[in-house]
C-alpha cells in the first residue's frame, strides 16, 4: 500500500495538518440513524470523505442452522467495500483485508450487544463502504453501533471509534488517508465510553512506549467525541423533528 516516504507536508510549523486540521481535531462527522426501509436497523455515516452505510437484521433465524448456539445469540458482521469506493477499481469479492476487518469489528461489537438474551438467533450487520478515505473500520464500527441501537437490540453501551496516529513525530487524532499512507503510525481504537472498555485496538507503525500511551489516550478522548455524535443521531431520529 505504498511507501511511507513523506512527499507532502503532513504537519507544518504551525501544527496544521495536510487537510487543515489541528492535531487533536477530527474530520467532519455526520451520522444519521435509520434510512433503510427493509433493514431492522440502519445508519449512515460520513466521516471526512468516508461514506458508509450499515444495515442490521435480527435477531432472526440462523442459516446455516449449525451456526446457531443454544446458549446465546450470535453476531455476524460483513465489512465490504464497493468496487468504486477506492481510486483503482476494487475486485468485488471479499479480500483478506475485508475478512480480517469483519472479524475485528464483530469482536469490537460483541461486548456491547446483549446476545445472551436471544439464544439460537443471529444478528447480522452488513457494512457497505461506498467511498473510502482512510479510517473506514472506525467509521464503520461507529455507524454499526448506531444501526444496532436503531434496530432496538439491547446493548450495554455503544462502541465509538476513531484512529489515533503519528505523523512528523507528533501524535494526532483521526488519521486520514494521506496520513495513513505517508505517516508513521496508525492506531484504530474502538471504545465503550460508559463501561470504559477498549474493544477494538490495532496498530501499525513504530511508537515509543510514551507515544503508545499517548496514542491510546488521544484515541479514547476522540471516541468520546464520536460517542456524542452517535447519541445525537439517535436523538434526532427518535426525539427530534427529523424522525421517519
Amino acid at each position: 500500500m505504498g511507501g511511507r516516504d513523506a512527499t507532502m507536508v503532513l504537519l507544518d510549523e504551525n501544527g496544521v495538518r495536510c487537510d487543515g486540521r489541528k492535531v487533536d481535531e477530527t474530520r467532519r462527522i455526520m451520522i444519521k440513524a435509520g434510512g433503510l426501509k427493509n433493514a431492522d436497523g440502519s445508519a449512515y455515516i460520513e466521516f471526512g470523505d468516508n461514506k458508509i452505510l450499515v444495515g442490521v437484521f435480527g435477531p432472526r433465524d440462523v442459516h446455516p442452522k449449525h451456526m446457531s448456539n443454544t446458549d446465546t445469540g450470535i453476531l455476524r458482521v460483513r465489512y465490504h467495500m464497493e468496487p468504486f469506493s477506492v481510486g483503482e477499481r476494487k475486485n468485488p469479492a471479499p479480500s483478506r483485508r475485508e475478512i480480517e476487518i469483519s472479524k475485528v469489528i464483530k469482536e469490537a461489537l460483541e461486548p456491547a450487544v446483549m446476545l445472551e438474551k436471544f439464544p439460537r438467533t443471529a444478528v447480522d450487520v452488513f457494512i457497505e463502504v461506498l467511498q473510502a478515505d482512510g479510517g473506514t473500520r472506525c467509521a464503520a464500527l461507529s455507524a454499526a453501533s448506531v444501526a444496532l441501537a436503531d434496530a432496538g437490540i439491547p446493548m450495554r453501551d455503544m462502541v465509538a471509534a476513531v484512529a489515533a496516529g503519528k505523523v512528523a513525530d507528533t501524535v494526532i487524532l483521526d488519521v486520514n488517508n494521506e496520513e495513513d499512507q505517508a505517516g508513521q503510525a496508525d492506531m484504530p481504537i474502538g471504545y465503550m465510553p460508559n463501561l470504559e472498555k477498549i474493544t477494538l485496538l490495532q496498530l501499525d507503525g513504530v511508537l515509543t512506549p510514551e507515544e503508545y500511551k499517548k496514542c491510546v489516550d488521544v484515541g479514547v478522548k476522540g471516541c468520546k467525541i464520536v460517542y456524542d455524535l452517535q447519541k445525537k443521531a439517535l436523538n434526532d431520529k427518535y426525539f427530534g423533528n427529523g424522525g421517519d
Binding site: 505504498g2 475478512i99 472479524k103 477498549i198 485496538l201 496498530l203 513504530v206
Partner: protein, 272 residues
C-alpha cells in the same frame, strides 16, 4: 484457531480459580511464556528456515527468496510477504479448504508485526529499479496446536529470516541472472518480537496455552522492536480492555519481548 474445539467447563473454572490465587494451570507465572525451542535450517532446500516449539505448539517456517516484479508504486523496494497456514494434521478440528477468518487474521497479524518493524530493509532488495526486485516469502505452517499461534509463527518467521541467505542476481539482458556462489545475509535492521497476552476475568496472562486460549475473554498481540518501541498491535476476542490494561500490556510486551529477543539472537548465532 480452534474456536470450535470444546474445553471442559470444569477446566475453564479451574483456570479462573487458579488465576484468582495468582497461579496458572501449568504452573507458570502470569508474565512467563512457555519454553521456546528454535531449530534453524530445518529445511535445507529453503533459503532459511526454522522449526519453533512454543510449549507444545509447533510451527515450521521456510523462507524462499527469488526475483519478482515490484509493486507498481514501489519500484525501488523489494517484496516481503509472510503467510501462515494451519495444516489439517495440527488439530482434529482443522479442515482442508479455504482459510477461515481466524487463520486469515493470524497470517495478517504475523505479517504486519514483522513488516511494520521494518526488520527487512526492502530498499536493499532491488535488482533493477521498477523492473525486478528480490522477493522474500516467509511461509509458516502450523504442525501442532496448543494455543498462541501468533507468537509461535512470529518467532518461526523471525528466526528463519535471521538465518536466511539470499542469492545475488544481476540485471543482464533485461532479466535477473543468478550470480553463482554469492550469498549474503538478508539486510536486517531490527528483531521484532510479538508477545500475545490473554485476558481471563481481570487477569492478564502471557502466552496462553491451548486450554487458556479457549478460556480467554479477549487477547492482545503486541510487537516490539530492538529499540524497545512498539510497532504493531492487534486486539482480538469478545471482550474489551481498560486503558490501564492496555498500557500495562504494552509494558509487559516490551519487557518479555526483550528476553525472547535474546533467544532469537542465540538461534541466529548458533546457526553460523
Amino acid at each position: 484457531m480452534t474456536s470450535t474445539s470444546v474445553i471442559d467447563e470444569l477446566k475453564k473454572s479451574q483456570i479462573l480459580e487458579l488465576l484468582e490465587q495468582g497461579k496458572r494451570i501449568d504452573g507458570r507465572a502470569l508474565d512467563e511464556s512457555r519454553e521456546i525451542s528454535i531449530e534453524t535450517n530445518a529445511i535445507p532446500k529453503a533459503n532459511g528456515s526454522a522449526r519453533v516449539r512454543l510449549g507444545e505448539t509447533e510451527v515450521i517456517c521456510g523462507v524462499k527468496i527469488q526475483p519478482d516484479r515490484p509493486f507498481p508504486d514501489t519500484g525501488d523496494k523489494g517484496l516481503f510477504i509472510c503467510t501462515a497456514e494451519l495444516l489439517p494434521l495440527s488439530h482434529p478440528t482443522v479442515e482442508t479448504g479455504p482459510p477461515q477468518p481466524p487463520v486469515i487474521e493470524l497470517a495478517r497479524v504475523v505479517d504486519r508485526g514483522i513488516r511494520e518493524s521494518h526488520m527487512i530493509d526492502v530498499s536493499q532488495l532491488v535488482i533493477e529499479k521498477d523492473k525486478s526486485v528480490i522477493g522474500v516469502f516467509a511461509d509458516n505452517v502450523v504442525v501442532d496446536y496448543d494455543g498462541n499461534l501468533f507468537d509461535a509463527c512470529s518467532y518461526a518467521a523471525t528466526a528463519a529470516l535471521l538465518t536466511s541467505k539470499t542469492p545475488k542476481w544481476n540485471w543482464v539482458d533485461e532479466k535477473p541472472t543468478l550470480a553463482e556462489g554469492e550469498e549474503t545475509d538478508l539486510p536486517i535492521s531490527t528483531i521484532p518480537v510479538s508477545v500475545t497476552m490473554g485476558k481471563i476475568g481481570n487477569h492478564i496472562i502471557v502466552d496462553p496455552n491451548g486450554d487458556e486460549w479457549e478460556s480467554m475473554d479477549a487477547r492482545v498481540t503486541i510487537t516490539s522492536d530492538s529499540d524497545g518501541n512498539i510497532c504493531a498491535l492487534q486486539k482480538g476476542g469478545s471482550d474489551g480492555f481498560s486503558q490501564d490494561e492496555i498500557n500495562q500490556c504494552g509494558e509487559i510486551a516490551v519487557r518479555v519481548g526483550a528476553k525472547i529477543r535474546e533467544k532469537l539472537k542465540a538461534a541466529q548465532t548458533g546457526s553460523q
